[in-house]
């Protein structure tokens, strides 16, 4: 019963359930079929962050989830409101991010009748959710919400969609809250079996050239300290994936940074010549392995993952350990002894000396220079989000991440438009942090309408637009592999980003020359009353190196700009 003695509506029960799950923010955009839920929010302590496009809401919730480990919640209306969340669902699903997306739906009696703003949202989203519900009776709401949060946040996290017909949310709801969960088809692995861990320790003991390969699973499970302790005990180097950045401190002497297509040369060399690789919450993605048959071909491979479907998916490891990354690494720690890796570490040191990440500081402004200075000025005391493309790879290379949940980007999906809204969400999760969104001019324009959201809520995110007036990564591929036949990459007509920011009441700054970098970055850092946009007008035609052409073996890594024409890559992207 509500305070005035009437039976609560489905929407009111839904809000109470969200409150019980600890939800403090909902990122959303209203619409007809969701009006009862927005109405119930008026009386709820949950704060609604009104976005300008539903895609932005999903990325904000995703950024919130990745910065905090708590699920991000989205509320949108039916039909196009719901379909606009599909990109965000894919992004979250690919990167194992816990989202709860609540969509309005037409009245139950109208389902399947092409009613106004009706879309078969559960049908459309099956492939991009961890699970989904169409609420058929208001009495199911407490059970569904409880299950949805449990599923979204446990095991391998992911997005869960709840489709709520308008008559369900508007009508009376006779239901009591639920704490127990009964999901016979859902099991969450904990620690690995002792036999498997002992087997792993025995394989590790034989290694002389080990590498720890650390991914998003290590970030999610909070395995950072355990991974670092394992690396130090074994004297083994660490490499991380794009999403694994920060699981272990990238500035640690044993850390070689990111591996893969645009990873550091020394990380990729280490992986090529290692005799043992331990994957900790990483999934042998095609941008990591390149040509699978030649990927650490001689190494013993151990795979630690919470999702058994990742085992034997891309390659067949010698040993798979099912369990939470942190728990399994902690199980391993007392069973392993220090290895004699002095020669191996000396070799890696030599690679590091010979093939450092580098860029030209003269001949125009370069993104790498700006990001290198951002790293130096902030010293890791920041949360950095990134979109997808050249700026993302440069940020991953030059902004070293010191701990988990300080680096947020779209890995599996590679979603343009992710970075900026994700930064807004990250700030709501951790408002004490300095949050930078590093974005390209292309991706930023896909979700820039959220400047209004950031301005209204005075979210002090710092937006660094790396502007080369190109879809730069595709242009790079066309230059290197398609005889520089540029097609569909020239973003002529870009706005003046400073004026654009000012149009939203947002402070705008411009970096034109290397000499501007520190001054403008400091000015942006000092601006705390709301968002600030810094546009770096960088050289138009710059390329990300090192680069391993898609589908090629790591041995084919291009470390410096090539002087001859290259074959078209066999890998897809």
């Amino acid at each position: 019963m509500t305070a005035n003695g009437r039976q609560p509506t489905g929407a009111e029960v839904l809000c109470r359930c969200l409150e019980r799950e600890g939800v403090t923010y909902i990122f959303g955009l209203s619409g007809g079929a969701a009006i009862p839920i927005f109405d119930a929010l008026v009386d709820s302590p949950i704060e609604l962050i009104l976005v300008r496009h539903e895609q932005g809401a999903t990325h904000m919730a995703d950024g919130y989830a990745r910065a905090s480990g708590r699920p991000g919640v989205v509320l949108v209306t039916s039909g196009p409101g719901a379909t606009n969340t599909v990109t965000g669902l894919l992004t979250a699903q690919m990167d194992s991010s816990p989202l709860i997306v609540i969509t309005g739906q037409t009245n139950r009696v109208n389902l399947g009748k092409d009613a106004f703003q009706e879309a078969d949202v559960t049908g459309i989203t099956y492939p991009v959710v961890k699970h989904s519900y169409l609420v058929r009776d208001a009495s199911e709401i407490p059970r569904i919400v409880r299950e949805a949060f449990h599923i979204a946040t446990s095991g391998r996290p992911g997005p869960v969609l709840i489709d709520v017909p308008k008559d369900v949310s508007q009508g009376p709801c006779d239901a009591s809250f639920v704490d127990q969960i009964d999901l016979p088809g859902y099991r969450v692995p904990g620690a690995a079996t002792q036999a498997a861990v002992e087997h792993a320790a025995a394989l590790i003991a034989r290694a002389r050239q080990p590498v720890l390969y650390v991914g998003q699973g290590a970030v999610i499970s909070g395995a950072g300290k355990a991974v670092m302790a394992l690396a130090e005990k074994l004297r083994a180097p660490i490499v991380n994936t794009l999403l694994g950045k920060g699981a272990a401190d990238e500035t640690h002497p044993l850390h070689l940074g990111m591996l893969g297509m645009h990873g550091t040369a020394y990380a990729n060399k280490a992986v090529t010549f290692c005799d043992l690789i331990v994957a900790i919450g990483a999934r042998w993605d095609d941008r990591i392995t390149g040509k699978v048959d030649e990927f650490c071909a001689k190494a013993t491979k151990i795979h630690i993952d919470v999702d058994p479907a990742e085992f034997n998916k891309v390659l067949r490891p010698d040993l798979c350990l099912l369990g939470d990354a942190r728990l399994v690494v902690e199980q391993l720690l007392p069973l392993v002894e220090p290895l004699d890796t002095s020669e191996w570490l000396a070799q890696i040191k030599e690679w590091r000396r010979r093939y450092p990440l580098k860029y030209a500081k003269k001949g125009g402004l370069r993104a790498q220079h700006v990001l290198d200075r951002l790293d130096a000025l902030t010293e890791g005391r920041t949360i950095i989000t990134a979109d997808v493309g050249q700026h993302q790879m440069w940020a991953a290379q030059f902004c070293r991440t010191r701990e988990g949940r300080r680096w947020i980007t779209t890995g599996g999906a590679g979603t343009m438009g992710f970075g900026f809204p994700a930064a807004i969400g990250a700030w709501f999760a951790r408002p004490e942090e300095e949050v930078w969104a590093v974005v390209g001019d292309g991706g930023f324009q896909m979700t820039l309408c959220e400047l209004a959201t950031a301005a209204v809520k005075r979210v002090p995110v710092k937006i660094l637009v790396i502007n080369n007036n190109y879809l730069g990564m595709v242009r790079q591929w066309q230059e290197l592999f398609f005889e520089n036949r540029l097609s569909g990459v020239d973003l002529e007509g870009n706005p003046d980003f400073v004026k654009l920011a000012e149009a939203y009441g947002v402070k705008g700054l411009r970096i034109n020359r290397p000499g501007d970098i520190d001054r403008k970055l400091r000015e942006a850092r000092a601006h705390k009353s709301g968002p600030v946009l810094v546009v770096a007008e960088v050289v138009k035609e710059d390329n990300v190196f090192p680069m391993i052409p898609a589908g090629a073996a790591i041995a084919n890594m291009i470390i410096e700009p090539p002087k001859h024409r290259l074959e078209k890559p066999s890998g897809s992207t």
Partner: protein
Amino acid sequence: MAAPEPSTRAVAPREPQRPDAHTLSLYVNNKPGVLVRVALVFARRGYNIESLVVSPTVRGDFSRMTITCSGDPETLEQIIKQLAKLIDVVHAIDHTGDDSYETEIALVKLESQLDRRTEILQVAEHYGAKVVDYGSDSLMLRVYGDSDKLDAFVALLRPYGLSELVRSGKILMARGLAET
């Protein structure tokens, strides 16, 4: 013309099961959408489902899906794992090569002249098939047994004016106390 001998398969070759065929049994929540989720796991990987039977179980809140499919074993391993990963799938077991009892029902319609009925009925009798509809210009037969037997039966009847075929798809149960 004498009735073809069922054993002379050179004359009427049976339609052999593909060597890479597998039979999976899924124990799933009895909820809307489960069938779509299961089908998508196959479709996304370009894997063909050859038959699929959804049926009630001892408990009303769960259903059984018996699926036969074929394709390369690596993809199938991934498919089984992805099926097991679905929240609504309680378990997914590949019974291929297991000690399990399997059966299937087929209904066959023949547009048959009266003068050939004796031969057809001889074949039917040999396979334990029952005539379930006896018309002036058509016959309907019901036969059950393992899928290979049904394949052979259908192949034998083809020359006699086979006009319609409906098969239930394979169902299967693990023998003894083993779980299906």
